[in-house]
Symmetry: C2
Subunit: 276 residues, 2 copies
């Protein structure tokens, strides 16, 4: 399985601690060594770093672990290729523009017999079912709201409808962000934690590193971290329910719904450990 | 003025030598310190690095100078802000997708009273006239060829038509690339050089560095470098004529045309040293 990492915060925050543990899974503590990517929003702007080297050895991963880019919204992905070869154009996250904003998407899962009709405004550059799903989401959002971006709660419910159709095709854990809110959907595996005042310490599972968040935060800070598997062994992570779609804003869980998954799909998903 | 740097090659080539000289102009040998960006195509994939720090001090610029990413198509830009504040979303190059390919654009110049009608498929994220011009080009190409990408010579002539309209608004030196060919247009200042067998040495203007290309190349190599001002002081660079649009492929100058610039615009351009 690939792995996902997301962060959504009240104030621009440095993700290097979480990223250090996460990147170790790309070849050191785990085998997701077929590509690495991370996107940092800085208000409307977005920096996207991708590499088809593993996150454990990539100079790009090394840069982002060392360079404390402060961001309110981050999405990262490490890849274990199952659909599409190990090519740079198949590395997540993917980026597109919609309503004058950058959108970032990363997927963990495997969509079978997924052949949506794309009208041409968004077309995949690579060969993954993941980029195809992203283009499908972007097209459907644009079709539903052709002029400009609707309020986030309307956007959230539209996204739930679009997700319902795609989720019929298989495992569809994803993170999606436009720099304002971070949307997280779970088919099988996804966890989150919200860290807020008073902050305490945390110890990484994948590297012997402890941080005392109380030393580096203020009362205004609040950070939601979302990951395929918990990153720390001394904090309580909440597991998403299958079908759960959450929207985080300013480090807070703001909206929640369940996108129903048919029983047949749920059983097939449970047996599927692939990842594109 | 901002500055542009482009490279188009027959075989994947490391641009670190040219980039070292070019990046020095972002705060060391010149004053283009309001942002830095570079895009590397690797076949259809594209890695875009941007920073609103200067290229002389940015850790991102440091990474790309040290990490020899081999690419057949590179576009880089250093910014001296004139339209739009010093924000990350105003840093060139800009990226959009068209016909299932990434497109990269960087601009040196200043477009006045440029208010095109954008239908919504491409919208600027930042505030620059440059990103607006890029969205206009993407929209016009999509309108002219709605289904899929035409042959490169048809694309070239369509681009000349679109450029003719935008160039009426002011200085419009630009580099545009889809990973297959690099298009370069000159309103005022642009130079190029084609390096091929037998290769010789070159010495940077902006850093005391000499390279013997004969030591690091084969007979199959051929590299076109395009820049706002020559990067080396011991090679012969060809100056573009005002209005010239060139297409480079596989390190070769393949197509050439002149996009006429009205005399009034040419005179105004000559007096304008701004850059967005």
């Amino acid at each position: 399985m690939c792995q996902l990492l997301g962060m959504n915060c009240a104030t621009p925050t440095d993700i290097t601690f979480s990223l250090t543990g996460f990147a170790a899974r790309g070849g050191v503590t785990d085998h997701h060594a077929d590509g690495f990517g991370v996107a940092f929003f800085e208000e409307k702007a977005c920096r996207l770093f991708i590499d088809n080297a593993s996150s454990a050895t990539s100079p790009v991963a090394e840069l982002v672990k060392r360079y404390p880019i402060k961001s309110k919204n981050v999405i990262s992905h490490i890849r274990k290729a199952t659909q599409g070869p190990v090519l740079l154009e198949n590395c997540h996250p993917f980026m597109r523009e919609l309503w004058g904003r950058h959108w970032i998407f990363a997927h963990n899962g495997d969509l079978k017999t997924f052949q949506p009709f794309l009208g041409g405004v968004y077309q995949p550059v690579g060969d993954t079912d993941s980029e195809l799903a992203f283009c499908t989401i972007m097209q459907a959002l644009r079709k539903r709201f052709p002029g400009s971006q609707p309020p986030l709660n309307e956007l959230f419910h539209a996204l739930a409808d679009i997700t319902r159709e795609i989720t019929l095709h298989g495992v569809f854990n994803y993170l999606l962000c436009n720099g304002q809110a971070l949307f997280a959907h779970c088919s099988t595996n996804l966890y989150y934690i919200v860290r807020e005042w008073p902050f305490s310490t945390a110890h990484l599972i994948d590297a012997d590193m402890t941080i005392d968040f109380a030393q580096v935060t203020t009362e205004d800070d609040r950070v939601a971290v979302i990951a395929t598997a918990p990153l720390t062994d001394d904090e309580v992570w909440t597991r998403f329910e299958p079908g759960e779609l959450l929207m985080f804003r300013d480090g807070k869980l703001e909206l929640r719904t369940i996108v129903p998954i048919p029983e047949s799909v749920r059983l097939a998903n449970a047996a599927n450990t692939a990842c594109t």
